[in-house]
């Protein structure tokens, strides 16, 4: 159980790190400044992280009720609280990875 959770968060985090660092290079080419590129990548990562975090806690808070309501209305679509929570954890970890990746890459490129 713990291992699968770790794998879920870890893989998304690793992808986020790569995207954050790689995206920074593309952003520098597009925006022409390390500072602007770093800010843009970090903030985009924060957007995903915030969304994931909010969605994850929202899933724990309310998804069971939504799932029960869907079943009650005979409109279940296979969407479950667990799936929602896992998806949000993945998005949040990815976003956090982008934040960290872009920050580390900025420092490595001497942008600070």
């Amino acid at each position: 159980m713990f291992e699968s959770r770790l794998r879920l968060v870890g893989s998304a985090l690793a992808v986020g790190l790569v995207v954050g660092a790689g995206g920074l290079v593309f952003a520098i080419l597009a925006l022409g400044s390390v500072r602007d590129a770093s800010e843009t990548m970090f903030v985009l990562g924060a957007l995903a992280f915030g969304f994931g975090l909010l969605g994850w806690s929202g899933s724990i808070l309310a998804a069971n009720s939504v799932e029960a309501m869907q079943e009650h209305l005979d409109a279940a679509s296979g969407w479950t609280e667990q799936n929602s929570r896992r998806a949000m954890a993945r998005i949040g970890s990815f976003g956090f990875g982008v934040m960290v990746g872009s920050a580390v890459a900025t420092v490595a490129l001497g942008g600070v």
């Binding site: 770093s38 800010e39 843009t40 970090f42 903030v43 985009l44 924060a46 957007l47 992280f49 915030g50 969304f51 994931g52 975090l53 909010l54 969605g55 994850w56 806690s57 929202g58 724990i60 808070l61 009720s65 934040m99 920050a103 900025t106 600070v112």
Partner: protein
């Protein structure tokens, strides 16, 4: 009775919710166009002056340092000072003065919605497919469909302009100078009246509150009555209702004693979710009725990029919303203990 474990779990979940909201607000504000340093320095400021303002505000620090500082400030309840709209004034001081105005409006709207929506929903369900039911449903549909910026001016025209029954704007007549205890003008004026100041100020505050609260309450009432109706219709078809009637219990008692409590559970969800909409609606209603709450302040702050003020306001709104929904969760588990499982 609500178990301590359930309560603590719900309370702890507020932390990631608020953390998520804080992060989202930070990201959205930094993605939006505009440089607050330029606005603060003014149109004629030189590049050096703008740079000095940026350094002073900490906007030259790396973005992750700004993010960390922002989170630390939130945890230590330091929402910073307003950059532009009320330059130099702490955001908490501004919110303390303005938030009760918006909150009062939303609370009265909610109260009106509950007071009228629930009985109308029950009546509509009990008298299903009669003229009462049809009228209530049409009324509810109209209430949901009519936007505040349209119904507000219309009510002002009717009750203030043509009939002259109620004031069109403001919170209280300028003749009254009520001391501020809570910031809620109706409560303050009541305290003032009870301490010997006379009931004139209280009457004035209530009459000023009626129109905006009605505008905001109609939407809430419509939604609650529709939800109450459908929930009640489902409950009255349950076996336990038929059993109660078969045992000789009167129709009214059966509905109020066995039906009402069970039918209320989904309605409470709507009331909780509605509160967020009401806060948003209060912002719009304030503008229509010229009430100086958080609404106009927030719009100004967004326009000029007053980051601390926008962040603080949104965070406080989110906190209030999550608190209300925590209350809803606890009410659920009180009404139906199975929910805790």
């Amino acid at each position: 009775m609500v178990s301590k474990r359930f309560f603590l779990k719900r309370l702890l979940l507020l932390v990631p919710v608020l953390f998520g909201v804080a992060t989202l607000v930070f990201a959205i504000l930094h993605l939006s166009p505009g440089d607050p340093a330029k606005v603060i320095a003014g149109q004629r400021a030189t590049a050096e002056q703008v740079a000095a303002v940026r350094t002073e505000l900490g906007l030259n620090d790396p973005i992750w340092v700004q993010y960390g500082r922002y989170l630390f400030d939130i945890v230590t309840l330091n929402l910073g000072d307003s950059y532009i709209v009320r330059k130099g004034v702490p955001v908490l001081t501004i919110l303390r003065a303005r938030l009760p105005v918006t909150l009062e409006l939303a609370l009265y709207g909610q109260l009106l919605g509950i007071l009228f929506g629930i009985p109308l929903g029950v009546l509509s369900a009990v008298k299903q497919d009669t003229i009462t039911d049809h009228l209530t449903r049409v009324g509810a549909l109209t209430g949901i469909s009519v936007p505040i910026y349209w119904s507000g001016p219309l009510l002002i025209l009717l009750f203030a302009q043509f009939l002259g029954l109620l004031p069109a704007s403001g919170r209280i007549a300028s003749a009254y100078d009520v001391p501020v205890y809570t910031g809620l003008i109706t409560l303050d004026s009541l305290v003032y009246a009870l301490s010997g100041g006379g009931f004139g100020a209280f009457q004035s505050a209530i009459s000023h509150m009626l129109l905006p609260a009605a505008v905001i309450g109609v939407y809430s009432m419509a939604l609650i009555s529709r939800m109450m109706r459908s929930s009640m219709l489902e409950v009255v078809r349950q076996d336990y209702m038929r059993t109660a009637r078969a045992k000789g219990q009167g129709a009214k008692i059966t509905i109020m004693k066995h039906g009402f409590r069970n039918a209320t559970i989904p309605v409470i969800t709507v009331i909780g979710i509605q509160f967020g909409t009401l806060l948003g609606g209060a912002v719009l209603t304030e503008t229509v009725f010229g009430i100086g709450g958080i609404g106009t302040l927030l719009v100004n702050a967004i326009e000029v990029g007053d980051y601390p003020l926008v962040q603080g306001t949104v965070l406080v709104f989110a906190f209030l919303f999550t608190l209300v929904n925590l209350g809803v969760d606890l009410t659920y588990s009180y009404l139906d203990p199975r929910i805790e499982q």
